[in-house]
Amino acid sequence: MANTIIGSSIVIDGEISGDEDLVIQGTVKGKISLKESLFVEGSGVVEADIETQNVEIAGRVTGNIAASDRVELKTECRVVGDIRAPRILIADGASFKGNVDMDVKER
């Protein structure tokens, strides 16, 4: 279970960085950079550039995503922005607009 949870009524305008998993149920605007996984839950709204290892999105994300491992767009998510990651999964029902770049250098 992740250590950090941004609850559904929370709005953060600024920068989040850290070395642990982050669950977003609320709203984050600005920039997110993590060394672990980011989970944007169904109620989560992110208007930020994201830099992480893994991202799982079930909510709404507007911004560019760069993941060193994997990006997963789940059913009912809405994502606008460019995605750059070696592994990208888009589930049936997901909504996405933007560029996909899986041609990231092998690690």
Binding site: T4, I5, I6, S9, G14, G18
Partner: protein
């Protein structure tokens, strides 16, 4: 300790925000739910509910909340509509404005406290400059910078006990006796309300 228990039990529910120990947030944070900080937050925090700063938490921000429970480090001003509690592990530099302020033994604090007057948030009241250093641990507290003679602090300013469910009736506002005698020369504005 009670604050910790409360925090960890509250974490169980999902509509609770926790900032983990390795997380740094810089910017503005607003919300309508309890917030537990174990990491670092810089900028501005405004909540309509309770802020809990755990022992590993560091807050460099101006904070406006309903309740604040400080077990970590806070640098900045806190305005609370209800209460501010500095626990044994709490360290704070900044000003507190809150109708109830609880500073327990072992806490370290430097700054001003404004509890308003008898009625909460009485804005017309003359601000009472009060320096509270509840620190009993020797060697931890630094000498106070404030040279202004602090008004004699009513005993409720430093309460060593956690406030129980019932709030004790606040004592009447202390009349400033020193100023009253020198009132011939000093312009003491007494507001009749």
């Amino acid at each position: 300790m009670p604050a910790k228990e409360f925090a960890s039990s509250a974490t169980g529910s999902s509509d609770n925000t926790v900032i983990g120990p390795s997380i740094l947030i810089s910017g503005k944070l607003t919300g309508d739910e309890d917030l537990t900080i174990r990491g670092r937050v810089e900028g501005e925090v405004s909540l309509t509910r309770t802020l809990i700063v755990e022992p590993s938490g560091i807050v460099k921000a101006n904070v406006s909340v309903k309740n604040a429970i400080i077990s970590g480090v806070v640098v900045g001003n806190i305005a609370a509509t209800e209460s501010v509690e500095l626990t044994q592990e709490g360290r704070m530099v900044g000003d507190i404005r809150s109708p109830r302020v609880i500073i327990v033994d072992g806490a370290s604090f430097r700054g001003q406290i404004d509890m308003g007057d008898a009625t909460p948030r009485a804005e017309g009241a003359t601000p009472r400059p009060a320096l509270v250093r509840a620190t009993v641990r020797p060697g931890v507290s630094k000498p106070a910078m404030i040279s202004k003679p602090a008004a004699p602090l009513p005993p409720r300013a430093v309460t060593a006990t956690r406030v129980e469910g019932t709030r004790p009736a606040p004592p009447p506002p202390p009349a400033p006796p020193v100023l009253a005698e020198a009132g011939k020369k000093k312009v003491l504005v007494k507001k009749k309300k």
